[in-house]
Symmetry: C2
């Protein structure tokens, strides 16, 4: 590359996280002080963000995917000439991988296997299922849903994606065999759904999206995976469905209430898998953020469009 | 389609398995008696196979993937004008899915999660891993290995495939970023391997392929998955590596000895997952065989090359 490397600052931690520093350098930029930087990778919150930015600065990369508090703090309005980007999309892959793990572990009867202390092949045979030829409904077609679809396709699952608009979900690795339906019509697809993955935001409209009525329309072999927010499922109805065998099981990275109290039936039921909201732990977040930084610094340096630009009008 | 449907017989069970009958009809053929059949789907072994075949018969589909006993019984030699096909490849997908499940469950620390009865998020965070950016070595690039690769690619894993020749592994969904190395050089790749999946046949050359020396070159975070045959791993060396934390864990659908006796350390170690050779249970075998029958009947009816033709010269 010709010319001096583009100067990028990292703040507010000093020294900056090694992985982030490495990402900036790998992308072909140079680490600089804020005074002379053209870009700033900000790993802190809005409270510590500098009031004054140097005239050289063009771009700020934030480290969170959801940036409501930055709007609330008025930071974007204060710096109208700066391009801000969030980490939206960067953390979806780890959560999608976790959802796949929970679904496969459920369908293939892993919890009961782990309780065994002897070779019970004939007992287990009838309970080992597959995703091949099965219909998986993914509620929510944001970053997590769109990351999960390409993971399920090679397993031979048929995918129904549920989003607000009903417009076909598209993206890398998403074939046009994926059905998309609008959330208004979600009631229609429960009877032909084998398994459900919840990956939609918590809103008043999605509260108890899976309640007693919906659970009753699923199959005794159906597994439900929730990697979004606990409130999307009616916990009492879920516990009843798990206890009666109305559904196959549930793999939950999020619960309602959360944290799930000791002694709760979801800890005890044999067809319940609970992971304590750890589908995207800090070390994986940092690694994913570093990958996102590397991609965006490369784009900045070469003048290509940045990933996850903040839209001041839409508020995200 | 014009003309009468092609007559296909199913034997020896009477009535034939519903799924297989349905597959023949779905493929556009008709079910007939053997007397007038052009094709025969044989769901039995060589012992019950008819001595005399009608002059109308052109093709026989067998229901096993390994057909050594058919060679031994001399069936192929007795019917030199009949095309025989096996079920080779049909059962690989379920085993590959099981391998993926075991690997993900291990890497994401599921066994310890399932033993928890309280919200131990901070304890669990550091142990939740990902396949993203990790190198998975798959020993054996037959049907199972080739089915597993496309399942791992969307998770962002780098794949090293090990086969006899070292010729690049190819197939549907296998990108050219997959490295292939010959089994003679497998020793070189342990230090840069994060996880290992064993999917190679049991031969004198592969016995104890993973022994104390190989295990010592892996990482404390490495998981080993075996869906092939127990004898490819030195069980005593594996137990020692699991107990000392030299490797992360093992997910085993096959063991040595098999069945694994009650009280064996592999039942007890917290980083050992054992499933009793049930990665391809009878009901999934039958469904997979029916899919294979449907594909081959379609090919037969339309005059295209059949899947898994038996090679009389090579003996498989």
């Amino acid at each position: 590359m010709s010319g001096p490397a583009v100067p990028i600052a990292i703040g507010p931690t000093d020294p900056p996280p090694t992985l982030v520093e490495k990402a900036v350098l790998e992308a072909g930029a140079a680490i600089s002080d804020l005074d002379e930087a053209r870009g700033l990778i900000w790993v802190g919150g809005p409270g510590e963000f500098p009031d004054e930015l140097p005239a050289s600065l063009e771009w700020v990369q934030l480290s969170a995917a959801g940036i409501e508090d930055w709007f609330t703090a008025g930071i974007f309005a204060k710096h109208p000439h700066i391009r801000f980007t969030s980490a939206a999309g960067a953390f979806a892959a780890s959560v999608a991988e976790h959802a796949l793990m929970l679904l496969l572990a459920g369908v293939r009867y892993l919890p009961e296997h782990l309780r065994a202390s002897g070779w019970r092949q004939q007992d287990f045979f009838p309970h080992v299922g597959t995703l091949r030829g099965k219909t998986v409904t993914i509620v929510g077609a944001g970053g997590i849903g769109r990351a999960l679809i390409p993971m399920l396709i090679p397993l031979g699952a048929h995918i129904i994606a549920v989003n607000r608009s009903g417009r076909p979900v598209t993206g890398p690795g998403i074939p046009d065999t994926v059905e998309t339906i609008s959330a208004d019509h979600v009631g229609r697809i429960w009877p032909r759904t084998d398994h459900v993955v919840i990956a939609a935001p918590a809103t008043p409209a999605t509260r108890h999206l899976l309640g007693a009525d919906e659970l009753a329309r699923l199959k005794p072999s159906s597994w439900i995976v929730n990697v979004a927010r606990g409130s999307l499922i009616d916990t009492d109805a879920l516990v009843a469905a798990l206890a009666s065998g109305a559904i196959g099981g549930a793999g939950l990275d999020v619960t309602d209430p959360e944290p799930l109290p000791d002694g709760h039936p979801l800890w005890v039921l044999p067809n319940s898998i609970v992971t304590p909201h750890d589908s995207n732990p800090p070390q994986l977040r940092l690694a994913a953020f570093a990958d996102h930084v590397e991609a965006n610094v490369q784009r900045f340096v070469t003048g290509r469009p940045l990933l996850a630009p903040i839209d001041r009008d839409r508020g995200y």
